[in-house]
C-alpha cells in the first residue's frame, strides 16, 4: 500500500506533487530516517506515471536533502532532516505571513483570522 497519492487532473505538475508529498511524509516522521523508498520503476508502475517524472521528483528531493540515493541500491530518507525541516518551517512561516497580509489588505479583521487560527487547534 503506497502512502503516496497524486491527482493527475491537478494543474500543479506531477513531479511537484510527488516532491511535496514525500517531503511531508518525511518531515512528519511517517517515513522514518533511512527508510527505503520504492524504486523509480516500481513507483512509476504503481502510480501509472512516466518514470522520468518520478526520476525528476527524486532528483529534486535529493537536492533538497530530503533523501539520498545509493547507486544500484535505491533511494532512502535522509538520516538528518534538520536542515530541510528548518527551511521548510521558514517557508511555511513566510506563507502564513503573506496570506495574513493579503487577507488584511482585503479588509478581513484580525478577530476573524484569530478565529481561523483557533479552528485548526480545536
Amino acid at each position: 500500500m503506497s502512502k503516496i497519492t497524486i491527482d493527475v487532473k491537478s494543474r500543479t505538475p506531477i513531479f511537484e506533487q510527488l516532491r511535496h508529498n514525500i517531503t511531508e511524509l518525511a518531515l512528519s516522521g511517517i517515513l522514518a530516517p533511512d527508510e527505503q523508498l520504492p524504486s523509480v520503476r516500481a513507483l512509476a508502475c504503481d502510480l501509472a506515471i512516466n518514470p522520468n517524472t518520478i526520476q525528476k521528483a527524486y532528483a529534486e528531493l535529493e537536492r533538497d536533502g530530503i533523501i539520498y540515493s545509493l547507486p544500484a541500491r535505491g533511494s532512502f530518507i535522509s538520516s538528518d532532516l534538520s536542515a530541510a525541516a528548518s527551511s521548510a518551517k521558514a517557508e511555511a512561516r513566510n506563507s502564513v505571513s503573506n496570506a495574513i497580509r493579503q487577507a488584511k489588505l482585503l479588509g478581513i479583521s484580525k478577530e476573524e483570522l484569530l478565529e481561523l487560527l483557533n479552528r485548526e487547534w480545536r
Copy 2:
C-alpha cells in the same frame, strides 16, 4: 507615476501579475469605481510589454467582474465590485487556513503563529 509594477523575470506570467495587481488596486479602493484604466497601448508602452499581453490581462479582469471594457472608449473599474470582493475574501481566508494547516503540520506552535498575526497589526 503608474501604480502598476511588473517583474518580467518572475515565474508567474506577466498577464497574471497584471491581473493580481489591478485586482488589488480595485478591491482596496485605490482605483475608484468607474475610473478609467490606461489604454491597452499606453500601458503596454509604459511597462515595455506587448499590447497583446495587456489585452489578455484586461480580458481576464473583465470576466472576473473587476473591470469592464467598452470598445472605442476604454476600460474602467467596475461600479459594483461586491461579488469580486467577497470571492476574493473567501479565497484569502482559504489560503490563510491552508498556510496555517501546513505550518501546524511542520510543528510550528500556535503561539508562534499568533505572534506572526500580531506582527501584521503592529
Copy 3:
C-alpha cells in the same frame, strides 16, 4: 422627451442600439409615418453621444427604408413601411426558429417551450 434610450455600457454598438430602437418605434407605430426625427445634432446632444454615431445610425435606417432624409430639412419616418415591416417579420420568424432549434438540441421539451410561448400572451 425623447422616446429613445441607449445603454452606453452595453457591448452592442451604440449606432446599432439606435437603429434597433428607432426601427421598433417606427414599425410599432409609436413614431407615425412622415413624423420628423430629431436632428442629428439635437439627438447627439440629448443622448450625450458623438454626432457621427447618430449619423451612422440614420444612414443605416435610410438604407433600410425606415426613414428618409431631405437635405436641409431633416429626417422623417417613411410613409410606406410595409417592405421594412415584412423583412423585419421574416427576420423575427427566423430568430424564433433558430432559438427553438437550439433549445431542442439542448434537450428542452416541446411542452416547456409551449409554456414559454403562452407566457407572452398571458
Copy 4:
C-alpha cells in the same frame, strides 16, 4: 473527418465559432466526457487556422467548465457537464423568450409561432 467546421468569412470571431461548436458537441453528447480533443496544433493544422486562435477557444471552454486542459497531456471534455448544461439551457430559454417577444411586437400571431414550434418537432 472532423466534426468541427469553421467559416472564416463570418462576422462572429473564429474562436467564438469554435467555442460554440465544441460546446454543442459536448452538451449533446457527441463528444463523450473525458474524451480527448484534438491537440491545439493538430486542430490548427486541420482547420488551417493559427494555433493561438485554437488556444484562445480552448481557454474559454476551460473557464466555462466544458473542457479541462492538462499541460503536456492534452485537452479533454469535462467529466461533469451538469453546470454548463443547466446554464446553457437557461440561456437558450432566455433567447427563445426574447425572440418570441420581438416577434409578438412586430405583430406576428401566436398561431404562426405555434406553427413554427410544431415544425421543429415534425
